[in-house]
Each structure stands twice: as C-alpha cells, then as structure tokens.
Symmetry: C2
Subunit: 274 residues, 2 copies
C-alpha cells in the first residue's frame, strides 16, 4: 500500500519560492506520494504555532511524519513552527548566513525590514512585459514591435502563445508572437511587418503528429488539422526560417520552461543587474 | 563606489528553481548590486568546467568574488564547477540527503534517472489551465464556465487578466475572468451568466487613484479614466459584491503573486497530491 506523505510549504510571504524548490526536490522521489499544503503569510510566532498544530494534525491523520519546507527566518517563528514533529528543511536559513559573511552585511530579514514585491523595479518590468505580450499575441498588433525583446514565429498551435506569456511573466521579457500562415507560404515570403525585425525573430517548430493532435482538439476532422496539411505547413515554415536565417527549436517534447530558457540563451538575454 | 557582484545560476535543467530561490535570497541584501548570469543545461562535467571558466572570467573582470547558486547533484559535475573560486551555495545537495534518509529511498538524480517536465501530469494540467484561461479572458466566452476553478470579477483594469494568467501558469488553476461594467451597475445586477456560478466568484477591487492612473495610460483624458468615473465604478462594484456575498480583495499595493496566493487561500484550493 502506498502511503501519502503530508508536505507543508511555510513562508512569511507567498510561499511560492518554497513551493518551487520543494516541488523540484520531491520530484526526485517518484515512488512516494505527497499531499502538499500551502501555508503562506505566516508572519508571527502565533501563526507559526497554528501552523505547527496543522502539521501535527496531518501527522496523526496520515500516520506519516510530515515534511516541512520553510523560508521563515525570524527565530521566534521558527521555534513556534518546530513545536511539531516533522522533517524541517529550512530553505533560507542555510544560505542567509554564508551570504551575510560573504557580503559583510546583515540581511534585511534579520534587520526586520521588508519591502513588498509590488514596489520593485523588477516587478514593474514584468507587468509591463505581460501587457506588451497580451497586446502582441498572434500578430494582432504591429504597433511598437520595435520594443519587443523577441518575436516568436511559427505555424498555428506550435506553442507561441504560452511561451510568450511565460517569457513575460517569469522573466519580464517583452515577447510578441506572429503566426506563419498558408498565405505566407504561397507568397513564399516572411510577413512584411516582420522583415524589419529579422534580428528579433525566433522560430518554433513542432512534430506533425503532435500538431495534428493539438489541432484536432480545436477543429476535429478539419483540413486545418489533417496530418497532410500539418506536414505541409511545417515543412514550408522550416524552409522559410532556414532561408531567412531565423534560429528555431522543436517544441514537441519540451515544456514552456525549457523552450523559454533555450530562447533566452539563443538571443542572449541575461537578466538585468539588480 | 558600489561594486557589482557577479552571480551565477547553474543547473542541469532550466535553472529556474535556482534563479527563483537565489533571487529571493539576494533581495535580502538591497545595498549590494548584483549582475546575474544564467547557466542552464549544465549536464556534464565538461560543461561544468566551461562554466567554472566563465565564473573565473567574471571574477577577474569585476574584481569581486562571484556567488554561485547551483542545483547540480552529480559529484563530477559539482567538482568541475568548483574549480572556480566563488561562494558556492548548493541548493539541492543540502536537502537531498535528509530527504533520502527520511523517505528511505535514493533520489532519481542520484540514480541517474531523469524525466522531462513536459511529460508530467502536473505540466499537462498547467497547459490546459492556460488554454482555458486564455479562452475565458474578459468574459469572451461563457462556454464551460462550469469547469472553472475560480471566476474573477471586477471593474476594467483591476488586475483580473494578469492574475488569471498567473493562477493558470504557476498553479494549474482554471481561472476565468469577467468584467463588471457600467451596464451591470445600472441594472444593479450581476451579469446573468455568472449567477449560476456564485460560489466560484472572487472579486478584485482597486484604489480609485491607481485605477485612474492605469486607465489614463490606455485612454488619456477619457471619461473612462476620470477619477470621478473610477470612483463611481469602484463603489458600485463593491456594493454589488457585498450584496451578492462575493469575497474580494484590494489589488492596489499587491503583486500578482500575493493576489493569487490570497485567492487560493480564500477558495481553499490546495495543490493536488503528486
């Protein structure tokens, strides 16, 4: 019988960092089943003790010792949390001290200072990028394409929209996207709006079977979704990208995280200093 | 003079986990300037040694000892990376061993097994959610609203679209969103399409000054953007949400991460087991 381990992500903020790292670590143990619980905004010793109570309850209910990922730093809150019996993995505590020693500074957490994410330059840049990407999805607007960091091109349903949104949301990249359509292949030319921005173009391609399957879900039994048409469009798009010197990648077996990371490498978009 | 510290995020995958945690940690040291470098797909000792070379170059160029966040686990790759002189913060290594001991299992990394993100159930759920959210942005479709995990409501530009996309992308939540418009306030009724789904509704409100400022950027000097009109719409929306028993929050000073986390708490959407 498979036991299900309770897992808690505890943070004085949103807990998204704790959950991201925790999830990556737990993915290394596919033979265990985990039941995750989010515990955000645990910003006082009292709330930490409430949290410890929930951890204890989960231990009793499951008959399993819980695993707790936490980014708390305040010693009183940490002590409150540790009133429960669990495997505690302190994601911040382990690294703050070596960073303080290296930089010769106290961290703001230790000093009791805290600034909301929403105030930061980095955050404003991400929100601007999301708005830009939504306004430049699927070729709907050519205005301000000069502002784009990258312009994704590819046949319909090759993964351009989710990749563009991920680039904007995670990395603050202004990512426009532009479909390559049968008319472009007949004229055998890049859409004229794009020729000025050749240096910003990046192509996505996809396996014909996968493309046909995705298009079938949208428009079952259409010519659009047929394997012959998918094959034809993909070949025509790849010929065009090759001729125009556009870099591209095959999105078939890749996640939007992987696709986005490869694009950033290829177009050499390192994060800005902060 | 402010020195700029080189920072490296090294991973055998996308490095997004390393960057997320690293960024949170460095944000605790606002008095130091950091210059980040992404080093994804470092999946061999050779690539790790190339990386060490870049770390050394950055040290020489900046005159500063670099900081390296890494999620490598393979001992040969770790040894290759450590040929450079830097502060190394091993984000995985520290936690894999206690997890192996607790679970009584080797991790797949240690065992040399690796599955791409793109194959996982969790990933498929996220992509489905993104497609759902895009198809149900700004009230464009009422089809399948029964499938929504949550339906955000609020006046135009109160933050519904970016929040919906973040909920979908980060958490795999099917988040529709629906605007409350002057016609709804005149009729003094919820849009009829929504009345069936009252239990899924969650409201966003926003301060009138901030709303007016955001709307000015879209339509300068319009009645739509005027402070009087913003104030009127916000009051009418809040009255309606109060009367209909819809929970809401004020998005004014909050990031989409914070807004999303609060919504998940309020509607009690814990992640599925995995």
């Amino acid at each position: 019988m498979t036991q299900t381990r309770p897992v808690f992500f505890v943070s004085d903020g949103t807990g998204i960092t704790a959950e991201t790292l925790g999830h990556s670590l737990l993915a290394q143990f596919p033979d265990t089943r985990f039941r995750p619980h989010r515990m955000p905004f645990v910003d006082s010793p009292d709330k930490a003790r409430d949290c410890a109570m929930k951890i204890r309850d989960a231990a009793v209910e499951s008959g399993q010792r819980p695993i707790v990922f936490n980014t708390l730093v305040d010693p009183d809150a940490v002590a409150g949390l540790r009133e429960a019996d669990a495997l505690f993995l302190d994601l911040f505590e382990k690294f703050i001290e070596p960073l303080e020693n290296e930089l010769g500074q106290r961290s703001t957490h230790a000093a009791g200072r805290f600034h909301g994410i929403a105030e930061s330059q980095d955050y404003k840049r991400r929100i601007e990028a999301i708005n830009f990407t939504l306004a430049h999805d699927d070729g709907v607007s050519h205005a301000d394409l000069a502002e784009a960091d990258v312009i994704l091109v590819g046949v319909s349903r090759s993964g351009k929209t989710p990749t563009s949104l991920y680039l904007a949301m995670q990395f603050g990249i202004k990512a426009a996207n532009y479909p390559l359509i049968p008319e472009d292949f007949e004229r055998n030319k890049l859409p004229v709006e794009l020729t000025r921005y050749r240096g910003k173009l990046f192509g996505l391609t996809i396996g014909p079977d996968r493309l046909s399957q995705i298009r079938q879900e949208r428009r079952p039994n259409s010519r659009y979704a047929s394997i012959e048409n998918c094959l034809h469009e993909i070949e025509a798009a790849q010929r065009m990208m090759k001729r125009e010197g556009i870099k591209w990648l095959d999105s078939t077996a890749k996640s939007i995280e992987e696709i986005s990371t490869i694009i950033l490498q290829e177009v050499r978009l390192d994060p800005p200093s902060y």
